[in-house]
Assembly symmetry: C2
Homo-oligomer: 387 residues x 2
């Protein structure tokens, strides 16, 4: 939980954007946005729930499943009267839909004839949910407000940065564990078991929260399939392993990627790692308030081009507070065409990589933009690790 | 991976249902359904992807992000020519949507003037995705086919049951760990760190996969908030803890819940645990092929009513193969009104509970319906555990 004043400030900024875009009522179904504005935190996003912000009322209100209303009381700063719920017969029913109850609540509160923002491109706002909502309050004009709150979230408060630094300390431990545990004959799942232990145990002072993505550590030819998850096969001599994982503290993330060679790496791999490292150094050196996302990607691209690598791709994204299935914030991307101007307390995951046909090198840093440059959340050497 | 014949059998059953419902083309975006029909398995469901089944073609085809096409090649039984992809500039872009590419692929394949089933109530099929798809192939008649494949999945093959038994062995270990580790002065996250280690390490023979829901172990007054996740606070003497977690083997789940008292439990708690246990015994004894879901719930309800407890609720659901955020299959529920008839090789999580104001008892079993009754996946005494 953050101080109530911080939540009120976030609500204020959200309302300012709503007013600017002509939105009277904002229905927030993205769990990260719900958490950001109310503090709500529970693994209940697998059923329909939302937070409703209106221009007129000071507090937002929460609507969700009855048994989760207790979680709302326990984790949010909202008054009890602003917590509404639906009964369990609406859960995974083929005849009843939670949006019918939600539409009724909105209707009874007089929110049935206005401009309403909905997060159309959010995992937890299904096509069906939108249909039912439209049926329930037919006089409402709906607007797509998918990233409205996400953009408010982009510039973090100092306390949010502090949480991400704690996540950074946790990810250092988890990455150290991964590098220690990976070896010939060890099963991939055994390494992940140890990584999870590090991620959740956290530090003496700060316990770890669950990251929004599971640890990924594809090896051998699977390094070209970055989102494939672990198996119970063993690592082999000659494998390269790309390790991508995050530390998480109270839903705030610090992701990190490193590459490891099991056995002596080839000259080609060592050279490639040096190129990636040079690219990262140049890129991080360039970043400061005022530069744009596309300028950052250009520095990376021109640096590696000097070594003959032509690669035009997204090399990072804004991130921070998140829930599964992704720790990305879905706002700014470090890629050509993204003209977002960097400001202090924005936070990114810079994750470039270069792949040959049979292996690749991926090394990343999570960082906060400071007054003069950047600071990485984890302090972890960017070597090509060798076992 | 299952034998190809098993995938073909699943496709056959899916097509039979499609034909019956007048659906020419089925767009599958639920990652569990994609896995079930193709074998596809990667943490890539945070971007748009789908599997397309047509009545005319033998194999389905996969469409997703370019870098995930390698995962499709590595994990599915599909020919390479049936794997299509979109480039990275479509990922989390505010100007381009992956469904535009997907609509184009469908259009080019002549699937632009037919009846198309879509999973409208699926986490990974957003309101926006549906809108873009409708724009891209405007002559298509869309039908809601949310649970079409889920219902095919309800009756498991013997090999699927074997996978769930392996998950059952893993959950026994994870629950044993939880009960051993919870104690006065131990932080909640430290217990979860050990649980994760057990879940993922698995057994000597079978490595653990990530369960679709994180371990839940609310204590004290938080036992009335079943979906609240762990903190880094320590357990206290007198706390009751409800532990709900799953073993997972290659995406197949065996969930289990037990209740633990830290310190001597009150007479009230011991009595309540006895009632819950009696209810579970009577309910499990009753289950066999031919009975209905609502009859099962009625047995539970009348058994606890003999002890003065009136509770009318959902006490379980069909489950098995799944991805986050839920391990439930969203088909049959053990509750009043659900007339689903049980068949051999259906699999359920029976999770009843009774709550007082200040604490509750929750004890569960995952089971498979056999020819004559049921068999639980985990063999784990249903005691009220005391530390």
């Amino acid at each position: 939980m953050f101080p109530i004043m911080e939540y009120k400030e976030r609500i204020k900024k959200t309302k300012e954007k709503m007013a600017l875009e002509g939105i009277d009522v904002l229905l927030i179904t993205n769990p990260s946005n719900m958490n950001y504005l109310s503090g709500y935190d529970a693994w209940s996003f697998y059923v329909h729930q939302m937070l409703v912000v209106t221009l007129k009322e000071e507090q937002p209100f929460w609507i969700g499943r009855k048994q989760d209303a207790n979680s709302a009381k326990a984790t949010t700063w909202l008054d009890q009267k602003n917590i509404y719920s639906y009964t369990d017969d609406y859960v995974h029913s083929i005849t009843k839909h939670p949006m019918d109850v939600i539409a009724r609540v909105l209707d009874e509160k007089g929110l049935n004839n206005c401009v309403m923002g909905v997060e159309k491109e959010n995992y937890y706002f299904t096509a069906k949910a939108y249909e039912q909502l439209q049926k329930g309050i037919p006089n409402v004009v709906f607007k797509d407000s998918t990233l409205l709150v996400n953009y408010v979230r982009m510039i973090k408060s100092d306390l949010e940065i502090e949480y991400m630094k704690r996540a950074g300390t946790i990810v250092e431990k988890a990455m150290k564990t991964a590098i220690e545990e990976i070896n010939v004959g060890v099963r991939e799942n055994e390494v992940v078991a140890q990584i999870y232990h590090s991620q959740i145990w956290g530090t003496e002072k700060y316990g770890g929260d669950y990251p929004a993505i599971v640890p990924l550590l594809p090896s051998g030819e699977r390094t070209s399939s970055p989102h494939i998850t672990w198996s119970d096969q063993t690592y082999k001599l000659g494998d390269y392993v790309i390790i991508e994982l995050a530390g998480c503290y109270q839903r705030y993330h610090a992701p990190l990627a490193r590459t490891l060679a099991i056995g002596e790496p080839s000259q080609e791999a060592t050279d490639l790692a040096a190129v990636v490292n040079e690219g990262i150094c140049e890129t991080l050196d360039f970043i400061k308030p005022g530069v744009t996302c596309e300028e950052i990607e250009e520095v990376w691209r021109t640096t590696i081009a000097q070594h003959g690598f032509i690669k035009d791709s997204r090399i990072g994204y804004s991130m921070g507070l998140s829930y599964p299935p992704d720790w990305g914030e879905h706002t700014a991307s470090l890629r050509a065409g993204d003209k977002t101007i960097l400001r202090p307390n924005m936070t990114f995951h810079l994750i470039p990589g270069i792949w040959y046909d049979d292996f690749g090198i991926e090394i990343s840093e999570s960082f906060v933009v400071t007054e003069k440059g950047i600071e990485t959340f984890a302090k972890f050497p960017r070597d090509l690790y060798v076992k």
